[in-house]
């Protein structure tokens, strides 16, 4: 069951576990793909499975079949490092090429890959504003306009009935929305972490909501301005 919510006067749908579908723009939003993270580690002798880019791109392809978006907007940290784009393995490169041809692919550049060149397709932008909502990599303090960003890899982490439940999650305030990391090998930062709460740039009396995708929709959890879950 699809879960929709309003943000910045627009309607968004949570797509899969970590993407957003923006119907009015017919755009799929993802963030922090960290493509070629495994090979970045392999360079230094940690031979992580070389399938992370394929896994990540296949997940995007699956969402594309479902939503048929006109554009895919990736909110930065697209590749794990500057050379990642050049290391992209054959299968993954082909997959990315296909996706970038079938849609308008936009790379918002992030702190991990300022030099994204788009050799496999797509165009690179520092940031982008659509229907009054700014899409950028890292939340900007003091910006009063609605903004969607990534960078922090927020993750919901709670012990529920004695069991540790960890899930990627979206962070939502009236003006800011922070997306979870989409990449197959990207870890997360506890949504209660001070860095995330600070990035939310809260005004007096405002709280934060963590949105966790579930198979049947979405579970929502309120956090107060100190980053604690409302009990």
């Amino acid at each position: 069951m699809a879960y929709e919510f309003e943000f910045g006067g627009q309607t968004f749908e949570i797509a899969g576990e970590a993407a957003l579908y923006w119907r009015a723009q017919n755009a799929l939003l993802v963030s922090d793909l960290h493509l070629e993270k495994a090979s970045a580690f392999a360079l230094y002798g940690q031979m992580l499975p070389p399938y992370d880019s394929v896994a990540t791109l296949q997940d995007i392809a699956a969402l594309c079949s479902k939503y048929s978006p006109a554009s895919i907007i990736s909110l930065g940290d697209n590749f794990h490092d500057d050379d990642g784009e050049l290391r992209l393995a054959e299968g993954a490169a082909e997959l990315l090429g296909n996706l970038a041809r079938a849609t308008e692919w936009i790379w918002i550049t992030g702190n991990h890959d300022r030099a994204v060149s788009g050799i496999w397709g797509g165009k690179a932008l520092d940031e982008l504003t659509l229907s009054g909502i700014t899409l950028r990599h890292e939340a900007k303090a003091g910006d009063p306009h609605p903004e969607i960003s990534g960078h922090f890899h927020p993750k919901f982490r709670q012990i529920l009935r004695g069991r540790m439940v960890k899930r990627r999650c979206f962070v939502k305030t009236p003006r800011k929305m922070i997306m979870p990391a989409f990449g197959a090998l990207t870890g997360g930062l506890d949504v209660q972490d001070a860095a995330i709460i600070k990035a939310c740039d809260l005004c007096d009396g405002e709280g934060v909501e963590a949105l966790v995708a579930t198979q049947s929709g979405c579970a929502r959890f309120a956090l107060n301005a100190a980053g604690a879950f409302a009990k």
């Binding site: 993270k37 090979s39 970045a40 392999a42 360079l43 002798g45 940690q46 031979m47 992580l48 499975p49 070389p50 399938y51 992370d52 394929v54 896994a55 490092d81 393995a89 982490r157 709670q158 012990i159 529920l160 009935r161 004695g162 069991r163 540790m164 439940v165 899930r167 197959a184 090998l185 990207t186 870890g187 966790v212 579930t214 198979q215 049947s216 579970a219 929502r220 959890f221 309120a222 604690a228 879950f229 409302a230 009990k231």
Partner: protein, 821 residues
């Protein structure tokens, strides 16, 4: 003379010693000066050494085992003085290596021998370590991990060329584990470097010494290992303590007996109080202090306390400043304090070998009985205590099944060897095969291990450019870059902790560690008890939990995963047997006997080999309770599987609860025929499916990923910076499972899960039996035997179904309800 208790050295009688060994006068005079005699088994160890044999000494604590191990080395070093490393002593505990050094140095000094003895562990300063490699001592005391690291050095070839003997202490405690795998591979390596090296192992009494002879021997050929048996120790003086003569229905702690414990502490010089978990140790310690009107000095010791805190309490013990010490398996082995005169086991003993080991911690005199008290926490635990009591009286130990060596340990070892220098693949394979745990490794598997180290061993050859190992033109494998050797030494090791947070005061004083999962339940202002102190959380920073002394009492105690000791098959079998032996119930306390008699009257008592399953309604739900006695792990696994099966059959299960003895399931609809739920085909598909998606395999994968060197170890307190952020091995697991399900590490994780986490073997046996042996009794109300299990409901966490999603939705609903004005 401090720390000088070798009662065991002198107990031999003059008559009856026949020995072909002529001890040098310097040793004989030293014995004579103390009025002592070498003991029979000490002389037999000398004989074995003289005959060039490997040897296994099996003897009780206090029998002078350590000296028996070293005597041949001293003898040889006197007869044939040499330079260079002569004897390597390997202990599973760092502390033991330091302690033996103290106790070995004294006789060497008193005999005036020019023998250098040094210890080398993770705590040894690096300049001393470097010096040891250039100018090794005659006798080096070390641990399996430190030895493995030494073997990764280029100069190890020279350092070990002179080696004559290797002594493995407390071999029973770790041979059959990954540390045992590692040591076994290191022994094979040492034998290559020093072909005439004699292998010696010292063991407590074990069920089958031949298992350990084979483990010790090159190529598993136990005939090469002479078995030397020590004299039998005096029978222990064992009692079962019943608090006020009653046995409680539930609980594991035995805390009802606190007043009697205080009396015992008062009656004895020093009492060791063993608890089965760290949680329980903290709990009992708190209860003891609450009742400690006599102000006895009582300490606490467990594996999650900081090293400083443990050393402090060990020091207080050594100086005789404590009257009692509450402890866990962290003291199953370790430094002998000698003056302990009573051992108390809280809760069920879980195995006869473990119990005997613990009893042996008291009164290290061969001729006096050790005093031990069992305090069962509930009625089943009473039966288990009685079973252990009988086993101890008969001198029967738990049998052990040796597992094949793990691939992750092999990968670590091979990488270490590569760090020492180029190697030939087939020569190294032959060497590895001479270690018993790896005797079945074939060339193809070995090639996979090498490929794993070199490039990760993936079907997709993406990393050929980044190879860690390359093949020289001469056909030898070598490291592609020396940085990988440094990386290996930084990450090598066998113990992989759950992610932990360090507990410390703001001034930096470290108290110990709690698991991340527990820390996640805390926020600033919360209080908990640790190391016997009430602490209040000040803040949580990265991997540090900053605390201060709490001003209010704390009831919260940290618990640790994997803390549960498994019930041995041997004891489980005895308990089952006791249930069928009705005349034997006469010796039980009244309430236990009445409980069993009422069970026989109201329901049935299973006959030998029968699996009793009861169904009954209770409190608007339908219950099914099975009594397989196969241990918590097996029951927990079975509970997950059966509730899943019930779900698909529309029985609407609501939860389950498992103990070491029984499994209880409850549902909205009644189970009329339990047989199909227990059919053996559950293991074929549903089990695999369940394990793969469960945390069990992920946890095992995390361990093999670290040990094998796939991911770098997180060193507590040393947070990585910049690019080397940590990442979750769960994510790697998911990717690997999807894209390369046959990968070596997934195979290794499965082997672990199978052997250690789920007791699949026991589960399989249980299910195979179930079809033929099930005794189903349908009842109108709860049976007496079911009560101890049902009262656990609500205390143990219960989760099932497509869990995470359900829990999230539930948590959201609760929050919603609570937050609605």
């Amino acid at each position: 003379m401090r720390n000088w208790r070798h009662q065991g050295w002198n107990a031999g009688k003059l008559s009856g010693i026949k020995s072909g060994v002529n001890l040098p006068p310097i040793i004989l005079n030293w014995f004579a000066a103390r009025g002592w005699q070498p003991r029979r088994h000490q002389l037999e160890m000398l004989e074995a050494a003289g005959a060039g044999q490997h040897a296994l000494l099996v003897a009780a604590t206090g029998a002078g085992k350590t000296l028996a191990g070293f005597l041949p080395s001293l003898h040889d070093l006197i007869a044939n003085p040499t330079d260079g490393l002569h004897t390597l002593y390997i202990s599973p505990l760092k502390a033991l290596a330091t302690d033996v050094r103290r106790n070995l140095l004294i006789p060497i000094e008193e005999m005036g021998l020019p023998i250098r003895v040094e210890a080398r562990t993770g705590d040894t300063p690096s300049d001393r370590k470097a010096r040891q490699r250039v100018k090794p001592p005659h006798i080096l005391l070390t641990t399996p991990e430190s030895l493995s690291l030494l073997l990764s050095r280029e100069d190890s070839v020279h350092m070990f060329a002179t080696l004559k003997r290797v002594i493995v202490d407390e071999v029973h405690a770790f041979a059959n584990s990954k540390r045992g795998d590692l040591l076994s591979l290191s022994l094979a390596r040492l034998q290559t470097l020093a072909p005439d090296m004699q292998r010696v192992a010292l063991s407590a009494t074990v069920a089958d010494p031949d298992d350990y002879r084979a483990w010790l021997a090159p190529h598993g050929d136990m005939e090469q290992v002479r078995l030397v048996a020590g004299d039998a120790a005096a029978e222990p003086d064992l009692t079962i303590l019943l608090p006020e003569g009653r046995v409680p229905w539930a609980g594991h702690s035995g805390h009802h007996a606190i007043p009697q414990l205080i009396d015992e502490i008062g009656r004895n010089k020093i009492t060791l109080i063993f608890c089965n978990t760290r949680f329980l140790a903290e709990f009992i310690f708190q209860k003891l202090w609450d009742a400690n009107e006599a102000k006895f000095p009582i300490g606490i010791h467990h594996g999650s306390l900081s090293v400083e805190a443990r050393r402090k309490v060990e020091g207080a013990m050594a100086e005789g400043k404590l009257r009692a010490l509450v402890c866990t398996a962290s003291l199953d082995l370790g430094v002998d304090w000698g003056n302990v005169d009573c051992v108390i086991q809280m809760g069920a003993p879980k195995g006869s070998s473990r119990l005997l080991q613990r009893i042996g911690r008291s009164n290290h005199r061969m001729d006096e009985p050790s005093k031990a008290i069992l305090v069962p926490g509930n009625r089943f635990e009473y039966l288990e205590a009685q079973a252990a009591f009988d086993a101890v009286a008969e001198g029967v130990r738990d049998g052990e099944t040796f597992r094949p060596g793990s691939y992750d340990v092999l990968a670590q070892h091979v990488m270490g060897i590569a760090c020492a220098g180029p190697f030939d693949e087939s020569a190294l394979l032959a060497e590895v095969q001479s270690a018993l745990p790896y005797s079945a490794i074939d060339a193809a598997t070995f090639a996979r291990v090498i490929a794993f180290i070199a490039t990760g061993g993936y079907a997709l050859k993406a990393y050929d450019r980044f190879k860690k190992l390359v093949k020289n033109p001469d056909g030898l494998w070598r490291l592609s870059h020396p940085q990988f050797a440094a990386q290996h030494r930084f990450n090598a090791g066998i113990i992989v902790d759950a992610p932990m947070l360090e507990i410390r005061f703001r001034n930096g004083r470290k108290l110990g560690k709690v698991e991340e999962a527990f820390a996640a339940t805390l926020s600033p202002g919360n209080c908990f008890t640790f190391a016997g102190m009430a602490l209040e959380v000040e803040s949580i920073k990265d991997l540090d939990l900053i605390v201060r002394a709490a001003t209010k009492p704390a009831t919260n105690i940290p618990s640790y995963m994997g803390a549960r000791l498994p019930l041995t098959t041997h004891l489980a079998g005895r308990v089952r047997q006791m249930l069928t032996d009705r005349p034997g119930w006469a010796r039980f306390p009244d309430d236990v006997r009445e409980w069993l008699e009422m069970q026989a009257y109201r329901s049935q008592m299973p006959k030998a080999g029968q699996l009793l399953v009861e169904t009954f309604p209770h409190d608007k739900r339908h219950y099914m309770v099975a009594y397989p006695f196969e241990g918590w792990n097996a029951h927990q696994s079975l509970g997950m599987l059966i509730t899943r099966r019930m779900e698909s059959r529309g029985l609407m299960p609501m939860g389950f609860v498992a103990s070491d003895y029984a499994l209880g399931v409850w549902s909205l609809k009644p189970i009329t025929d339990p047989r199909p739920l227990f059919s053996a085909d559950i293991l074929a598909d549903e089990f695999v499916d369940w394990v793969e998606s469960s945390y069990l395999l992920k946890r095992a994968f995390r361990e093999v990923a670290v040990i094998s060197g796939l991911v770098e170890r997180q060193h507590p307190g040393k947070r990585k910076t910049g690019r080397q952020v940590t990442f979750s091995t769960d994510l790697i697991y998911d990717v690997l499972r999807k894209y390369e399900p046959d990968h070596l590490l997934l195979e290794a994780a499965w082997a672990d899960a199978r052997a250690r986490l789920t007791d699949v073997g026991r589960l399989g046996d249980l299910l195979d039996r179930a079809a033929d042996t099930m005794l189903h009794v349908d009842l109108q109300r709860v049976s007496p035997l079911a009560v101890p299990l049902l009262v656990m409901i609500g205390r143990e966490s219960v989760a099932q179904g497509s869990v995470d999603d359900a829990l999230l939705m539930e948590a959201e609903t609760l929050a919603g309800v609570a937050m609605t004005p």
